[in-house]
């Protein structure tokens, strides 16, 4: 696992992918931060910042994950890993943690934006630190779900572009379905959509509630998609 992890991390920086990811992420995050807090003046609201931030994942996550298995399969390097004494789980974990490291690292850099608020806001207007930390944890978890979905989709194809586009679509659907659930006339279906919706659960965090069931939900979703990725490899092997 560590070998795969280290190679992935190196690959992010020997190819433009890592830099593109960080630039796009930090640029967008800072722009959103500016617009939702500093420029809002009195009506500023960090909840808005985090809500828009998770919508940025539609663009950001595919950059990180499109290559992961699609490229390996195209270059047949998966053959090296799968014939080495490494388990499929270890290989997937290596990829996942590498993507998570890139993502979490960049997110933490973007968190420096808050420094400006603490520095310049009036002491009684400074945002709640606990809420900021809680929201960051939630953003990390939501990102983790999307990354595992991205990795799963990447394992289905050897075409990076296809992987990226499908990942965009999948994340979009997952986010928007929660927002539009109120339009569903059939109540039981609305409940189900709300339950599945990543967005609905995220909204509790923006209200300042640290929802453990949501944490569990995000972890389970991450695990589910990583597990399905493993199944893809099993299936291909036994196919």
């Amino acid at each position: 696992m560590t070998a795969v992890y280290r190679r992935e991390m190196k690959a992010y920086f020997t190819t433009p992918i890592g830099y593109v990811f960080m630039i796009v992420f930090l640029m967008l995050a800072s722009a959103v931060f500016c617009l939702t807090t500093i420029q809002q003046g009195e009506g500023s609201n960090i909840a808005m910042y985090f809500t828009i931030l998770i919508f940025l994942f539609i663009i950001i996550v595919p950059i990180l994950t499109m290559k992961s298995f699609a490229e390996e399969r195209k270059m047949k390097t998966d053959q090296l890993i799968l014939t080495s004494p490494v388990s499929i789980a270890g290989m997937i974990a290596g990829k996942y943690f590498a993507a998570m490291t890139m993502y979490t690292g960049t997110l933490l850099v973007s968190a420096l934006n808050f420094y400006t608020i603490f520095k310049f806001a009036a002491s009684n207007a400074a945002p709640n630190v606990a809420s900021i930390i809680g929201n960051h944890v939630a953003v990390i978890l939501v990102g983790s779900v999307f990354i595992s979905i991205g990795i799963f989709i990447s394992s289905l194809t050897e075409n990076q572009l296809a992987a990226a586009i499908i990942t965009v679509a999948a994340i979009l659907v997952l986010l928007v379905s929660g927002m539009l659930s109120s339009l569903i006339p059939f109540y039981p279906l609305r409940v189900v959509v709300n339950w599945i919706s990543i967005f609905t659960r995220f909204s509790y965090f923006t209200y300042g509630i640290f929802d453990y069931s949501a944490v569990l939900y995000y972890c389970s979703m991450t695990f589910l998609f990583l597990f399905l990725t493993g199944r893809v490899f099993d299936k291909r092997r036994w196919g």
Partner: protein, 340 residues
């Protein structure tokens, strides 16, 4: 060392491998020979644990590849048909990655530099794989298979796409490796296995049709009854002489022309060596014989030789005999047609 029993791989209704069994002993160099699509790569992928079989078992040194894949995979170094290279890495980074991946415990620096010496890639050690030529990439692929000093090395078509000089180098390298490793190599080029291997397994349509020592197969090739002869002399007369000559069952003129010499293809009666006799006859007539070569150093001819000679029993072992025989005839005639 490697024991393969009743291996079957099915894709839907298609059998990629249909009940294959063989054993490879320690220290052997075994050539896996067969036309494209015969099932060579599938077999190798199953041995290395990349694919799983529909049924049957593969044990490596007594370890089942499905039950203890990690242990079994540690014993095998594998060079797939397309070397699994990360183009964005240097050779050094790549080999270090493979070293970590295989959980190697040998002295890193010493081990890797030894491998580089053996496969002659020390001079490109710090270069990006992206920028290497095909020959070098192939060697980096071989180097990768050698990391961890596995007992068994499996090469899938190691010389495809290389230039003749590189082919010879790679073959020599494989022979050197064969001294202290068990090697399985697949190819569709007969001289390659003849040059390198102790034993040849011929596979076609997912079935083993021959499993013999290299000398035996070479003998089968030499027993070939077809020759191309190049004779200076009047075309029609030469041809009619060849056709009427005792011991020749078939003669035809080929399009090739070299000065006043023409090339003919002849086929002798089974068990008759026509060559000396032909020479004397031609000498009497005053038609110089300037070329004589056996036709039948390609795979199709080997198939014919083996099917004609002792290969039948191994071939007919499976399946309903009538259907099998009919199929075999089809194949033989198709191959014969190609040759003429």
């Amino acid at each position: 060392m490697i024991k393969i029993e009743n291996l079957v791989k099915r894709y839907g209704a298609n059998y990629a491998l249909d009940d294959i069994s063989f054993t490879v002993n320690e220290g052997e160099i075994v050539g896996f020979l067969g036309p494209n699509g015969a099932g060579k790569t599938t077999t190798m992928n199953i041995i290395t644990g990349y694919l799983s079989s529909t049924s049957g078992s593969v044990t490596v040194n007594g370890i089942d590849i499905l039950e203890e894949p990690k242990k079994a995979k540690k014993l095998i170094g594998f060079l797939p048909e397309q070397p699994p290279l990360y183009l964005d890495m240097t050779v050094e980074e790549y080999l270090n990655f493979v070293y970590n991946l295989k959980g190697c415990t040998l002295n890193r620096y010493k081990h890797l530099s030894e491998i580089c010496e053996v496969v002659k890639i020390s001079d490109v050690f710090h270069r990006l794989i992206k920028n290497l030529s095909k020959g070098y990439r192939q060697r980096v692929g071989i180097a990768q298979a050698l990391v961890g000093n596995p007992k068994i090395i499996i090469f899938d078509e190691p010389t495809v796409g290389l230039d003749p000089k590189q082919i010879i180098e790679i073959r020599n390298l494989i022979r050197t490796l064969g001294k202290d490793h068990t090697v399985i190599l697949s190819t569709h080029i007969l001289p390659e296995v003849q040059a390198v291997c102790d034993r040849i397994i011929i596979i076609n349509n997912g079935k083993i049709i021959a499993d013999q020592k290299t000398e035996e197969i070479s003998k089968a090739v030499q027993n070939n009854r077809r020759f191309n002869v190049k004779i200076c002399g009047p075309k029609k007369e030469v041809l009619s002489m060849l056709k009427s000559k005792v011991g020749i069952v078939y003669a035809e003129e080929l399009a090739e022309k070299d000065g006043d010499a023409f090339t003919y293809m002849i086929e002798s009666e089974p068990g008759v060596d026509i060559r000396k006799n032909l020479f004397y006859t031609l000498a009497e007539k005053g038609w110089p014989l300037i070329g004589l070569e056996g036709v039948g150093t390609n795979l199709e001819d080997i198939f014919i030789s083996i099917v004609d000679g002792g290969g039948e029993d191994t071939r007919r072992k499976k399946g309903p005999p009538s259907k099998q025989a009919a199929k075999q005839e089809d194949e033989t005639s198709a191959i014969g047609g190609e040759n003429k």
